[in-house]
Structures are given as structure tokens and as C-alpha cells.
Amino acid sequence: MLNNFVIPDFYPVAPEIFLLTMSFVILFADLIFSATQRWVASVLTILTLFGCAAITVVTADGQTSLTLSNLFVDDLLGDFLKLMTYLSVIMVLIYGRQYLVDRGLDKGEFYLLVLYATLGMMVMISAANLLTLYLGLELMSLALYALVAIDRDSARATEAAMKYFVLGALASGLLLYGMSMIYGATGNLDIAAISQVLYQGQADKTVLVFGLVFIVAGVAFKLGVVPFHMWVPDVYHGAPTVVTMLIGSAPKLAAFAMALRLLVYALFSLAVEWQQMLLIMAVLSIGLGNLAAIAQKNIKRMLAYSAISHMGFMLLGLTSGVIGKEIDPFTAINAYSSALYYTVAYVLMSLGSFGMILLLSRVGHEAEQLDDFKGLNQRSPWFAAMMLIFMLSMAGIPFFIGFFAKFAVLTAAIKAGYAAIAVVAVMFSLIGAFYYLRVIKLMYFDDAVDSAPLRATPVFRLLLSLNGMAVAAFGLFPDTVIAVCTAVLLHSL
């Protein structure tokens, strides 16, 4: 046996290996440095992610290379999603630094768990095999469960973590069951091989569709779309804001990758079947998310329901790839790139909105009620303008990135013949506009109740401003991001 052993090509896995190595370094560094030097762990983590980014950029050659016995794939799509993941995690760490220090959560474990969650996402993004995908998913999820509960004295956080864990475990079970069905029908766990078998039409369709239902359920849970959305508001609300910010950003990218790898790469031949399921979930999510968000007084819960509706919109893009039974690569790429673009745009807006909550929080005060935004225009016109940008962008008002994300998705949906659904979707986003407008109303029309000066480091202020300006600039000049999203899919599908 040993004679057959070939040393695998580690080149495509270099970012993951680097991150894992650095996590051990940080683990030991955390033991050496005293409590007053905790910033070292934070800085090292951020540097690690920058290192990963550098490695990802250097190793990106535009080729799709499989390695580790075809368990792992390194393609342009993966590189792009990973870079976006590093970016969002770095932003979470910078935004959250002061928050963590203020609440005594600035521990080495936090940074390690964030790194492992990131590693899980990276593995998910680069999975070429159902098992690798599951491995990455569990690594990410377990780290996130622990992160939600990191403030162990908070009953609400512990409750949220329990809910997240129990429901997450259930979803993982469903996913695994679906994978076993697919394995049973095709005899393969390799994504490319499954696709090949399905393409030849040799597999038993009943078993396949049966498995597909469970796979879709698992994916829907990770995306947080109706009817698998129950955990989203509670976890968003209960988790410390930094962790909410993390859950609300990078994992959406990983979940998108998972949806793409499973549904488009592996089960593309069943597109007609899964498109129906996604379509129903998309419409329900857009509807329920927007309706329920109106009733919220807590901004974290409001953003949770808004996340549900945004993921619904993203699914609308994902579901528009195949028209009837006809497969036109150009249409498919358009639809999937619109979904990818929507996800990237959403992550940018979501990071900024949670950044605003962190900006207003201070020791002993969690600025998570909507009323905490009252009169922000009097306290800081600049950051009120930033929140204005984030909210309007989420509502899909031009000139912000959210508008073009909606435009791309609606174009794909109407092209796929879902004009009536597009009308329903925009009507619900009209309802959604109300609660975003309410935040603006609180900031601009009402008088401040809380007049404490905003305490934030210059780095924080700079990053939040850049975040807001990026949302505006990519709305004025949307072409680069849209073109990149299309190009990476074009090279990777």
C-alpha cells in the first residue's frame, strides 16, 4: 500500500495550513502574555488573516486544482469568497475590539474560536467532496456555538447558544441524511463524480429527490431562510453583538458556497426540482422577514429578520439559473453571479449596521434598542449619515450597493420568467422599507435621549466610515464588483 502513497499537493491548501499553524502559535502566545497584553492575540489574529489573504492572492492562478485525493478544490470562486471572508472577519475583530475589552470577553479563546470558525468556512468554501463540506460546516458551527456562549454569565446568551446548538445539530443531521441518500443513489461522495453520474441519468431519481429535500433543508438552515429561520432572531438577539456581527456576515458567504457546491456543482441535473423548493422558501423568507421586522423594538432582532428577507432575495437569484428544462450557461452564470453579488453586498451592509450598534454601545450600555438611535443626527451627523446609507442600502434605494444587488437579482428572476414573483418580492421590500425608514426617522426626526459622547477609537471610526463610503461608492460605480462576481463564476463553473 505504501508504494501507492503520493505526497499530495499542499499548494492549494496553503492558506488553511497557515491559519491552522498560526492558531497554535496564538494558543501558546496567549499563555505567555499576561492579561494586560491581550491585544497581542488580537493583533496576531488579524495579522494571520492578512497572511491568509496574501497567500490566497499569491496562490490564485485562475486554475481549478484539486488536491488531497480530490477532497479539496482551489478555484477562483473559492479564492474570492475566502478573501471576502477574511475581510469580514478582520472587520469584525476591529469593530469588536473595544466591545470585548469593555465586557471582559477579550480572551484568547475568543480569537481562537474565531480563527477555527474561519477555518471551517474556508474548508466549506473549498469542499470538493460531501465529507469535506460536512467537516468544514461542523468546524464552523461548533466554533460559533461556543462563541455565542462566550459570555457565560449571560443567561440570554447561553439560551441562544443552546437553541443554536440543538437546532444546528438537527440541521446537520438532516444534511448528513440527505448526503447519505445521494451517496446511496450515486455511489459517490465526490461532488464532480456525483454530477457526472447524474448527468448520465443512471441514478434512481426517487432516492435522489428524497435526499435532495434533506440537503435543501440543511442548506436553508445555514442560510437562515423560512421555514428554517427560527434560530436566527434568537441567536442574533442573544449573542454578544460582536458574535452576532460575525454570524451575520462571513458565514453567509460560506453558506452561499455550500449552496453552490451542493446544488449547482453536484445536483445541477436536479435544478428543476430544487429551484421549486428554493423559490417557495425565497418568497416566504422575503415575506415573513419583512413583516416580522416591523414589529421589532430591538435592532438586533430587526436586523435578524432583515437578514432572513435578504437571504430570501439571494435565493431568488439562485433559483433563476435554469429556465424550464433548458440549460443556458449564460443565464445560469448571470443568475448565480447575481446571488453572489447580493451576498457580498449584504455582508458589507450588515457589517456596517452592526458596527453602528457597537459604536453606540459602551460599558454597561448595550445600544441594541431602536430608541438608542434617537437623535443620532444631533450627536454625530457623520455617523448618522453612515447609518442612513446602510439602512437605505438595505431597503434597496439607489445610489447604494443594495439597489444594484436587488436589480441584479430581479433581472435574473424576470429573465427566468418569474415576473409575478418579482412583483411580490418588490411589494414586500416596500413593506421592508418601512422599518429601515423608521431607523432614519429615529436618527433624524427625534431628539436624542442619550447624549453621551461617542467613544470609539480612530481606527474604528475610520473603518466604519470606509465601510459606509464603500456601500455608497459601489452603488455609484457598481460595475467592478458585479464584473468580479461574474468572472469568478465563469472561471469556476
Partner: protein
């Protein structure tokens, strides 16, 4: 044409708003003068559009074309024809007036106030000059943001309700329009050029659906009965400047949309649905005229009068005659001047008395004679007295309507009676009679700044009424071209 005057008309006010914002609200003196400079500069760059306009040409002039989003083949495509060019000028002119009107009375956050109006001015110029459907939509919807803030921050007691109602009502229409725009974009094989859409052959069903999607959007904006209810609320709660821009420019966007989109893109549906449109327009003219009669709040009265006058505009479009369409366009510009002036007059009284109730006034002529004279002129213009601009447009539309169908013309002419009734009755109760309210006795007449604003508008109203040729001259070619296009069936 080397200079990009349309781009300048859009971006001079918007970019000029940035230093105004940066000055902050503490330096009031600098803020005002800078805002005025920017507004004047914004107006100055639109003048070459009129001077350099070729009246013999029906097509688009001053065209600018830059790829904007190549991935979707969207263009930064600007251009004006005889229909849209006057509105760019009107809008930039009204911005100067609005900046002057907010000179003293706005005490809270003046820098943001001025900047909001400047940004809105640029966005509205963008709406009138965009020839790319998606670019149009982007400007159309972005212009809601400053207006939302203007009503909500500087408005009256029920400002929050009015602001949100305004925003959601308009958004309802524009989202349906977005779906129609995307549909057209796909149907034309990935072109967002409005002029390409004009040539796009469409069946009757798509035409009707597109017409309805546009109708919802533009009817809200015009506003047409029965989706007009946001307007009285928005007008009453908005600060004077906000009312002026709403009435003078924002309402014109809907009417402009009909001429730029609905009529040429769906000509058959327009003919088919014309009876419905005429019925809605006449309802607005007559029913809303009666509603205006019973108002006790002056601003509400003028708001309803605006809806009634805009009913005239939509009526003129759907009788498909040169007189009708040109009359409507003249009426739109004239209404821009008159409604702006009426709201400014009410604003001037409100600044002194802090009341808009007709019952609180009476005998204003005794203490404010100069003001009363101006108010008289604008009231008469609102009625449509010959020699004022109000007469020209209404006369042309009624003439066209009588030709189209005697009874339609007859019904439209009722507005002259109703308009006279509600406007002059209000004028009588406010300005004449004995002084009953002691506060009226303490009123001071208008100062130089107020005089200047009203005089500027009075000159426009009279000039347009006495010699409308310079206004109609630029429209002829484009209107003829439009009518020729609408007459040809796409089926």
C-alpha cells in the same frame, strides 16, 4: 457642444452641497451665502441649454454618453429635448428661490437644510435628463431621500406621518416601475436606452401591463385621483421650501414620466386606456376642485388646487393633439411658478403668524399692502386669468379638449369656475375685510429678500402669460415628433 452642461446641471449642486455640509450649522452666514452661490451657479450652467437649443430639431440634444455598468450595458446617458429642457431650467431656478426662502426662517440645522435642497435639485435635473431607463430610476428614487428628510426634520407637528407616507406611497409606484423597466430592459435584448424602448415592438398585453406599472408610479407622483392623499399631508407638514419644490418640480416628474415613457413605449395601450385616463383626470379637476373649496387650511387648499391643476395636465396628454400636449407642458411650467409663489406667500404669512388657518386671518391688506398686491397677482394666475401664465396652458388644453369631445372640454372648463371660487374666496377671507385678529394688526410688510423672491416669480408669471412664444417655441418639434410616434401603432 463640448461642455457637458447636463452633467454640470446635475453635479454642480450635488457636489456643491458637500462644502455646505462641511461648514456645519454654526456658521450660518457662510452657509447661506455658499448655498446661494452654489444654487446660482447651478442655474447659470443650465442657461446654455436654452441659448444653445436648436428649436428645429426634435431629437435629443446635449447628449452625453459614458458606459456606466458595462456588465448590464447600462449607460450614463443624458440628453434633453424640447419637452424636458424647460424643466431643467425651471428646477434650477426654483432652487435659487428655495435657498432664498430658507434664508432666515430655518433655524435648525441650516447647513443640512440647504444641502438637502441642493442635492435634490441635482437629482431632479438627473431625472429630467436621463435617457437610460435605469439611470432615470436611480435618480427618480434617490430624490425621495432628501425630500423625506426635509419633511421629517423641518416639518410641522405631524411631519413623521407625512414623511413616511410620502416615501412609501412613492416607493410603491416606483418599485412596480422598476419591474417594468427591467422587463423592458430584457425585452429589448439588454438595452436600457429609453429611445430604443420607444422603437420596441410590443404586443397589446405587454403594453397594457407596462402602461399600468408606469401608471401606478406616475399617478402617485402627479398625483392623480385616487392616489393623491399623500400630497395634502406632505404639503401641510413640509417647510415652505419643501412645499415649493414638491409642487413646482416633484409633481412634474410624474407628468414628465407619462410623456417620456407611457405614451411612446405603449402607444396602443395609451389609446386604449385613454378614456380611463381622461375620466381620472376630470375627476381630479372637478372633484378635487370641490374638495379645495371646503378647506380651512391655506396650504391644504393650495395643495388640492395643485392636484386639480395637475388633472389638467394629464387630461391634455391623453387627448393626443398638439394643443393638448403643448398646453399641458405649458401648464406644468406655469404651475411650477404659480404654485411656488402661492406656497411662498402662505409661508410668508406663516412665518409671521404661525398659523395657516384661513379663519385666523382677515384684513391682511391693511398691514401688508405690498404683500397683498403680490398675493393678488398669484391668486389671479392660479385662477387662470388672461395675461398670466395660468391662462395659456389651461386655454390650450380646453381648446384641445373641446376639439376632442365637447363634453370633455366642457367638464374641463368647470375648473375655471371652481378655481376662481376657491382661490378668490380664500383671498377675500385672508386679505380683505376688517382686522379681527390682533396679531394681524401687528404684521410687518415684506422685506427686501421676500420682495425679491416674489418679484422674480411675478416677472416669470407675467412674461409667460403675455408672451408664451419663447416657451412653446422650444417644444414644437419634439411634441410633433412625439405625436407622430404615438399615432403609429406598434402592433
Amino acid at each position: 457642444m463640448n461642455a457637458n452642461f447636463l452633467s454640470l446641471a446635475i453635479w454642480v449642486p450635488i457636489l456643491g452641497a458637500i462644502p455646505v455640509l462641511l461648514l456645519g450649522s454654526e456658521r450660518r452666514f457662510l452657509v447661506r451665502w455658499l448655498a446661494l452661490t452654489v444654487a446660482l451657479a447651478g442655474f447659470a450652467v443650465t442657461l446654455p441649454l436654452y441659448i444653445g437649443f436648436d428649436t428645429t430639431q426634435a431629437g435629443m440634444q446635449f447628449v452625453e454618453q459614458i458606459p456606466w455598468v458595462p456588465r448590464f450595458n447600462l449607460q450614463y446617458l443624458l440628453g434633453v429635448d424640447g419637452i424636458s429642457m424647460p424643466f431643467v431650467l425651471l428646477n434650477s431656478f426654483i432652487t435659487v428661490i428655495v435657498v432664498l426662502a430658507g434664508w432666515k426662517v430655518i433655524e435648525k440645522k441650516q447647513a443640512q437644510y440647504m444641502a438637502a435642497f441642493l442635492i435634490m435639485s441635482g437629482l431632479m435635473n438627473g431625472i429630467f435628463s436621463a435617457l437610460d431607463g435605469i439611470l432615470f430610476y436611480v435618480f427618480f428614487e434617490a430624490s425621495l431621500i432628501p425630500m423625506y428628510l426635509i419633511i421629517g426634520v423641518w416639518g410641522g407637528p405631524k411631519r413623521v406621518y407625512a414623511a413616511i407616507k410620502f416615501f412609501l406611497y412613492t416607493l410603491l409606484g416606483s418599485l412596480l416601475m422598476l419591474v417594468a423597466l427591467i422587463w423592458l430592459f430584457l425585452a429589448s435584448g439588454g438595452s436600457a436606452n429609453i429611445l430604443d424602448w420607444h422603437q420596441l415592438p410590443l404586443g397589446m398585453t405587454p403594453q397594457i401591463l407596462i402602461f399600468i406599472a408606469f401608471l401606478v408610479s406616475f399617478a402617485v407622483k402627479v398625483p392623480m385621483w385616487p392616489v393623491h392623499t399623500w400630497l395634502p399631508d406632505a404639503h401641510v407638514e413640509a417647510p415652505t421650501g419643501g412645499s415649493v419644490v414638491l409642487a413646482a418640480i416633484a409633481l412634474k416628474l410624474g407628468a414628465y414620466g407619462f410623456v417620456r415613457f407611457s405614451l411612446p413605449i405603449a402607444p396602443d395601450a395609451s389609446h386604449y386606456l385613454a378614456p380611463l385616463m381622461i375620466a381620472l383626470s376630470l375627476t381630479a379637476v372637478i372633484y378635487i376642485g370641490f374638495v379645495a373649496l371646503v378647506q380651512t387650511d391655506m396650504k391644504k387648499l393650495v395643495a388640492y388646487s395643485s392636484i386639480s391643476h395637475m388633472g389638467f395636465v394629464t387630461l391634455g396628454f391623453f387627448i393626443f393633439s398638439p394643443l393638448g400636449i403643448e398646453g399641458s407642458l405649458v401648464q406644468m411650467i406655469s404651475h411650477g411658478f404659480i404654485s411656488a409663489a402661492m406656497f411662498l406667500c402662505i409661508g410668508i404669512m406663516y412665518d409671521r403668524m404661525h398659523s395657516r388657518q384661513i379663519a385666523d386671518y382677515g384684513g391682511v391688506v391693511n398691514t401688508m399692502p405690498r404683500f397683498a398686491a403680490f398675493f393678488m397677482l398669484f391668486s389671479m394666475a392660479n385662477v387662470g386669468l388672461p395675461a398670466t401664465s395660468g391662462f395659456v396652458g389651461e386655454f390650450m388644453v380646453i381648446l384641445g379638449a373641446v376639439k376632442f369631445n365637447f363634453w370633455v372640454g366642457m367638464a374641463a372648463a368647470v375648473t375655471l369656475v371652481l378655481g376662481a371660487a376657491y382661490t378668490l374666496w380664500m383671498y377675500k377671507r385672508v386679505v380683505f375685510g376688517p382686522i379681527t385678529n390682533p396679531h394681524v394688526a401687528d404684521l410687518s410688510d415684506i422685506g427686501f429678500r421676500e420682495f425679491l423672491i416674489l418679484a422674480l416669480l411675478a416677472v416669470c408669471v407675467l412674461a409667460m402669460g403675455l408672451y408664451p412664444y419663447p416657451f412653446t417655441e422650444v417644444m414644437h418639434a419634439s411634441v410633433d415628433n412625439l405625436l407622430k410616434h404615438v399615432a403609429a401603432s406598434k402592433l
